[in-house]
């Protein structure tokens, strides 16, 4: 290794630190750019362990960059780094860095804000649920789309036609799909009471298995397990537009009187909702997919927008404990709004707290 060193051309202040909030095996190296940075080819990073006698090249950075991440360290091993600027195949070495070793972290300090937010919200939830348990009446505003569920089920019963419930195209790990399963449970209970036929087409196998259990349990809880039919819940396909074509086919052939589109939707939303509208079905949609909301608003009789989707289960069941959780949601939003407005005003005054909200 050439040992030439020119103070004016080499980088300076090489510092090495264990990468924070990681699973170990990574060290971050920083340096001050060479004064000749614009004319350099770049920088070369070297490393040696306590037992090594010479530095080993481990990577490089382009000119203008003063950061390198060594992601191949052994936890507990002590390393020293140096950086050399490179020009015309010649290297100009900086002083060696401090000694450093990598180790995995137990707690991610960059996520303290998330932890505090979850704990605060869980506290709100616990407070309002316990308040609801005492029997205190909680006011919940009327949600037109949910108030119409009873009417929708009744309409299908009177017409002697089935109800179509599409739980979206999201897999079970989407919260919208889980919310949809909760609503399906409540809708299925009403269907069990009214003795109406139900069709639940699914695009994912796990959602199919869950929705089948949800519908079955609802029929059992209403004391009508014998009315549940295996054919109520169907698996179609994982192909997005294959699923849309199959649902359109069901709407045209089996002519459901009421269509529910509740869950996560993508580009197929309008294809299905518009077909249902043209077939003359009464339609209730609900999604948190902001881009699909206009399509549902246009083609459906009622649309649950965003958070209304998550409030539906509580609204339909009218269980005081679940209604209490809605209050917690509202107060959570109010607090978030106050924080955003407060931080914005402070930002106008030159005090920037926005970094407090960033999540690593």
């Amino acid at each position: 290794m050439p040992q030439s060193a020119t103070v004016t051309k080499s980088p300076a202040n090489v510092r090495a630190v264990d990468k924070p909030n990681d699973a170990g095996s990574e060290i971050q190296i920083t340096w001050t750019l060479s004064v000749d940075d614009p004319s350099l080819e770049g920088y070369v990073v070297f490393r040696k362990t306590k037992t090594d006698t010479v530095y080993q090249r481990i990577g490089s950075a382009t000119r203008g960059v003063s950061f390198f991440e060594d992601d191949a360290t052994i936890d507990g091993e002590i390393y020293t780094y140096t950086v050399a600027s490179s020009r015309d195949d010649e290297l100009f070495y900086a002083e060696s860095s401090n000694m450093v070793s990598s180790r995995p972290q137990i707690f991610h300090t960059g996520r303290i804000n998330v932890l505090l937010a979850i704990l605060s919200f869980a506290g709100l939830l616990a407070y309002f649920v316990s308040k609801a348990r005492t029997g205190k009446t909680l006011y919940i505003r009327q949600i037109a789309g949910l108030a119409a569920v009873e009417e929708a089920v009744g309409r299908a019963t009177e017409m002697g036609r089935p109800i179509l419930y599409v739980p979206g195209l999201g897999d079970i790990d989407w919260t919208a799909t889980i919310a949809s399963m909760n609503i399906l449970g409540e809708v299925a209970k009403k269907i069990a009471q009214y003795d109406t036929e139900l069709i639940v087409p699914n695009t994912w196998s796990v959602v199919y298995a869950v929705s089948k259990e949800v519908v079955k349990e609802s029929f059992v809880s209403e004391g009508r397990p014998e009315k549940f039919k295996e054919d109520y819940v169907r698996y179609l396909t994982e192909a997005q537009f294959g699923f849309a074509a199959a649902v359109n086919g069901i709407m045209i052939r089996e002519k459901p009187a009421t269509n529910f589109f509740i869950g996560k939707f993508w580009a197929e939303s309008l294809i299905m909702a518009e077909t249902g509208a043209q077939a003359g079905a009464f339609q209730i949609a609900g999604t948190d997919s902001v881009l699909q909301l206009p399509f549902f608003v246009t083609a459906c009789d009622y649309t649950l927008m965003g958070e209304e989707l998550y409030a539906a289960s509580a609204y339909l069941s009218r269980e005081p404990i679940l209604l209490g959780s809605l209050k917690a949601q509202d107060y959570g939003k109010l607090i978030a709004l106050l924080i955003l407005v407060g931080f914005t005003i402070l930002a106008f005054l030159g005090v920037n707290f926005l970094s407090v909200l960033s999540v690593q």
């Binding site: 991610h108 919200f121 919260t175 449970g185 179609l236 998550y310 917690a328 949601q329 939003k333």
Partner: protein, 207 residues
């Protein structure tokens, strides 16, 4: 017991996954990986159930000669045919399986997607009729945005494209963010309610 066991599993797994989010240690990451592998295994079991349902539903339709039963033959033939082609000749990039996928399934999906243009026109015709104040506002703003984003827009008025951009960037974005904020809290509340066993609709809803 039938209710308590799923609730207990849900609570334990939910708490484990929340705690895991805050612990970057390799042991924590590895346990999360193990859980994800379990999820994949469960998905495989669920797929067997789902395919069983598909075969039973369409088999019954064919057997009873219900309305549209020939379509059920096409569905089952397509499913078993593709499975056989994949099992016998493999699924390599230049295999028969991939050729059928690219030359049959992809164009069919594209055709369905293309129908969206027609549905958009018919939906727009219905919703853009100025029957109420809201519908009139929708009509006016949609008109401004559509004209503004067309090259023709700047000939109507030089500031027209900028105004259309402002509608998208300010009122539209503000309302989208308002909805997203509600969605975020709704998601957290739903997750916590299920983990803590407050929400039991997925279990039939009773205590």
């Amino acid at each position: 017991m039938k209710r308590k066991l799923p609730l207990a599993i849900c609570f334990i797994m939910g708490i484990v996954m929340i705690v895991q989010f805050f612990i970057p240690h390799p042991v924590s990451l590895e346990s999360a990986n193990v859980i994800y592998k379990w999820v994949i295994a469960l998905m495989a079991f669920a797929l067997v159930l789902a395919i069983g349902n598909l075969i039973r539903h369409h088999g019954f339709k064919i057997q009873k000669r219900k309305e549209g039963w020939p379509y059920s033959i096409v569905t089952l033939a397509g499913m078993f045919g593709m499975a056989m082609v994949g099992l016998v000749w493999g699924v390599a990039p230049d295999s028969l399986y991939q050729r059928i996928f690219l030359n049959v399934l992809a164009p069919l999906g594209g055709t369905m997607f293309a129908l969206l243009a027609y549905y958009m026109a018919s939906a727009a015709y219905r919703s853009f009729r100025a029957r109420s104040l809201e519908a009139t506002l929708l009509l006016v703003s949609a008109f401004i945005v559509m004209i503004g984003f067309m090259p023709f827009g700047q000939y109507v008025h030089p500031q027209f494209p900028a105004f259309a951009e402002w509608i998208m960037r300010v009122p539209n974005m503000a309302s989208q963010r308002g909805i997203l904020l509600g969605v975020a809290f709704g998601s957290i509340a739903t997750a916590l309610k299920i983990i803590l066993g407050i929400e039991r609709s997925w279990l039939g809803g009773k205590e």
